[in-house]
């Protein structure tokens, strides 16, 4: 079975390490905050200027001046810091954020990512995504392995305008965990019950399969 959105988030959460500063994008990446492994502490960075993002507020805590990068009302944990957008992107661009998790339309075997623009459709903007992919030490992309028509989103070369070049190192899809290196996708794990053949069939770019590929564990 292909993974649910929650299961993809659970698998990404295994990439978190104690003491990490992490920026989570909108969508599945946001869900990762719900599955931080027991016994480790991570600090969530929200690029509008908050380090130490907490959960949504209770009704009584709602404050129009406390929002996250998705413009949702949010809280700050004890020990949080709030700062300007310039300071926030100094952290991001300067490589101080340990891990960024974001979605994408396409990723290719050279680590290029396209996530913000489909020509012919209305372009809303890249927000902070280009800065995040250029700056983070580690980038994990979450997406479905293929689009709704069955076409692969893991390509030899992105067809859409890029968000960043050569920056993606790891991908967690609904079918597999892959590493991007040396101009190829390397299959690390497969979703429970998903065959290597199916992953191969849905990966348009070069896929390296080394030995037995274990199933993901949750």
């Amino acid at each position: 079975m292909a993974l649910s959105r929650e299961q993809v988030a659970m698998r990404v959460a295994q990439e978190l390490k104690d003491g990490y500063y992490v920026n989570l994008g909108i969508g599945i990446p946001t869900l990762v905050a719900n599955y931080v492994p027991a016994g480790i502490e991570v600090m969530l960075q929200s690029e509008n200027g908050l380090l130490g993002m907490g959960p949504y507020p209770t009704d009584a805590e709602v404050d129009a001046d406390m929002i996250n990068a998705g413009k949702e009302t949010v809280t700050a944990i004890k020990g949080a810091a709030i700062f300007s957008s310039a300071e926030s992107f100094a952290m991001i661009r300067g490589g101080h954020v340990d891990l960024t998790v974001l979605g994408a339309f396409e990723v290719d075997q050279n680590g290029n990512i396209a996530s913000w623009m489909i020509p012919g459709k209305l372009v809303k903007g890249m927000g902070g995504a280009m800065d995040l992919v250029a700056g983070a030490q580690n980038i994990v992309v979450t997406m479905t392995h293929a689009d709704k028509y069955g076409s692969s989103k893991l390509l030899d070369s992105c067809t859409l305008p890029l968000t960043g070049m050569g920056c993606v190192k790891k991908i967690v899809t609904d079918l597999a965990v892959l590493e991007v290196k040396d101009g190829a996708f390397h299959l690390l794990e497969r979703a429970p019950g998903i065959s290597v053949e199916e992953i191969q069939q849905k990966t348009a770019g070069t896929l390296i399969i080394n030995g037995d590929i274990p199933e993901m564990r949750f």
């Binding site: 200027g49 001046d65 406390m66 009302t73 661009r93 903007g125 280009m130 890029l162």
Partner: protein, 236 residues
């Protein structure tokens, strides 16, 4: 002493000198931390052909979105503009020009503008449509894009507290772009929730020193929430 009394008592005074064709940089992230009354004043004045620089362009009927209603904005420089139908309509019809800029690059362009730095190199956007037509350079094995700074004829910000010297303190994440924006205007106008006596703001806790601010006005803010999300209270 009047030279350092930057407090004005009317929105007419606050935005006096704004003319057609000028560039206005506005603080705020979505609807959070926007100078609501100063935006309303620009609408009242009917100033046209403006270039507006801000992370977003408000929503239909609120924030910078109200300036679209009478087509006062000629060009918008922003990182994300997807929240209003009128924006989309004017963009598609060609009435409105938009320059999409990565959020961190936008923040740094404004910071650089206020700090007297004409341009800077950043890796953000290299190899993407953002870099098209721009100078690039390889430095220590990595490729960078040269991004020019931004300054404005007017900069409009919202702060929490100010004194008559123009010293500003921002509240929570309503800070966002406001500190950089405050540095980058020939005339910077701060609309604030509260004006306090000099000395009440702890000098080392001031976010924007008054040297950057020419006018201060006390505002009344609706503080509209764009996406109200709540969790159930503990024990509920």
């Amino acid at each position: 002493m009047a030279g350092f009394n930057k407090v004005v008592s009317s929105y007419d005074e606050a935005m006096a000198g704004l003319e057609n064709g000028m560039t206005v940089i506005a603080g705020g992230f979505g609807l959070c931390g926007i100078p609501e009354g100063l935006i309303a004043q620009i609408k009242t004045m009917g100033t046209r052909d403006l270039t507006v620089v801000s992370n977003n362009c408000g929503v239909d009927g609120f924030g910078l979105g109200v300036l679209l209603e009478d087509r006062q904005i000629k060009k918008m420089v922003a990182s994300y503009v997807g929240e209003n139908a009128l924006f989309e309509k004017q963009l598609l019809s060609g009435e409105l020009e938009v320059e999409l800029t990565p959020q961190g690059t936008l923040a740094e362009k404004i910071r650089a503008g206020g700090a007297g730095i004409p341009a800077f190199f950043t890796a953000t956007g290299y190899g993407t449509p953002v870099a098209e037509g721009k100078e690039t350079r390889e430095i220590n094995g990595r490729n960078y894009v040269l991004e020019p700074a931004i300054t404005g004829d007017f900069a409009i910000v919202r702060a929490w507290k100010a004194d008559r010297y123009g010293n500003l303190v921002f509240r929570h994440t309503a800070m966002n772009f406001n500190p950089m924006v405050a540095t980058a205007g020939k005339i910077t106008v701060a609309e604030v929730e509260e004006i306090v006596e000099p000395g009440e703001l702890e000098p080392s806790q001031i976010h924007t020193p008054g040297i950057y601010v020419q006018r201060v006005i006390k505002g009344n803010f609706e503080k509209r929430i764009e996406r109200r999300m709540v969790r159930q209270g503990e024990g509920a």
